[in-house]
Amino acid sequence: MSKDRADRLAITALGLSGLLTGALLTLIVGHVLARGLPVIDAAFLLTAPERMGRAGGIFPSVVGTLAVTALAVAIATPLGVMTAVYLAEYTREGFFVRLCRFATAALAGIPSIIFGLFGFVLFVIRLGLGWSVLSGGLTLAIMILPIIIRTAEEAIRAVPRSWREISYALGGTRWQTVTRVVLPGALPGVLTGVMLGVARSVGETAAVILTAGTTLRLPRSPLDPVRTMAVHFFILAREGISMDQAYGTAAVLILLILGVNFVAYWLLGRITARRG
């Protein structure tokens, strides 16, 4: 086979695989939205389900999802940002930093079912929190911690060195420099990480089903069990309760996650623009 023919063949094959990937995303999102959007209206989002979810809305699941996600982000964001500040501003490369980086990367590679098992054993059983918003939120917080650390650290490192030098030259201490110069500069990147954490929490099922439960009721306290939208969708689809309701719930999930991702990458784009 001649060199040129090999090139043409290879490039066609490579192009097709790239196209296939783009097509997959379009098909999945398109299919879910086409079947699910007609189901969604204000009543679907804001009323309680009837007959186990065969009819009515998904309001308790919306609240459950928001509660669990908000708790996870509220716990993971300060921990993640402080870790990132320490790694980027306070230490040199060494054993400690390598240990932190390894743990962060390893944590990111652990499958969600393991987080679920861990959360079940520690929070649900040993600490006696039961299936609850609290157990679910704590479990998700650990799961999204690596995402927040990594994006925050990158954002902090992207803040120009000269900003820090100016702060020190004006007599600022290291802590003042971090809180008044570095963190404000890194804010869009930090928020990107938080948004990605939100998206991950909203879409998570395995870890949440084992820690937050499957109860389809409006939670009244952090110790009440909830059924998040992802879990509700799973149960609707798995038990064949209602295809329409399943598509509707899936469409809400997809829209929420895509929306949050767009915000995340828009923020990221703003940093890159500033740097470039």
Partner: protein, 284 residues
Amino acid sequence: MRDERPVEMLLGLVALSTTTALVLIAVFIFIEGVPVIARVGPAQFLLGRRWAPDAGSFGIFNMLAGTVWVTVGALCLGVPLGLACAIFLSEVAPRPLARMLKPALELLAAIPSVVYGFMGVVVLVPLVRTTLGGPGFSVLAASAVLAVMILPTITSITYDSLRAVPDSYREGSLALGAGRWQTIAMVLMPAARPGILAGVILGTGRALGETMAVLMVAGNALRAPTSPLDPVRTLTANIALEMGYAQGEHRQALLATGLVLFVVIMAANSVALALSSRRAGEGG
């Protein structure tokens, strides 16, 4: 100037949060999982073919086999596609097209696994049933769904390691009269090999650990499969299916299953991390 050492110490302590989390996860999964493995015997636990929680017999071999079948299938479908996609984005696609496809890939990673599972149920399972026979809920359906799910991992890591190969390699190869494909296959891929391998291993880890999507499409039969059209139950699906009602030793046996997964995935990911910390091109 104020003494800032307390602040620094506090930050250092917080920085240990991921290490602490990792240790806690390992400790609790071990504490809960080891007793059953010790009672049944490690060999009997891993290679026993009878999983009958009510009768107190816990052998996970059939599910282990299920996990291996499904993961190998996912790699067979997902690795070639993922590599091709990464090469296309890095070496072939015009910049504007690459700039459109890259976010598409990240969004593919953001779609929840239940949605993948659901798409598998409504599209793939009927397709397998009508075209190839069998129940449709099968190794093949599960592998195909997983292949799509690990695509973003494999592609983005391969893409990054291809981008990290210095341009001088490309220019040198083309100057020697090599074609574009020859340059890709004989110069760039070997130079990016550690990174590519890391991506494939991380993708394998994802496939091994994926739960909800596999549970929805694999059929969950408690037999070791003999063909790609057979239904299977993976280790992860078994945990998710039975954890809701398991009590006592049954629950511990499920945690022991989690322990096996945890050990395998931690080992694989450590290798991947070691590989990806080597810079691409060093071995070239």
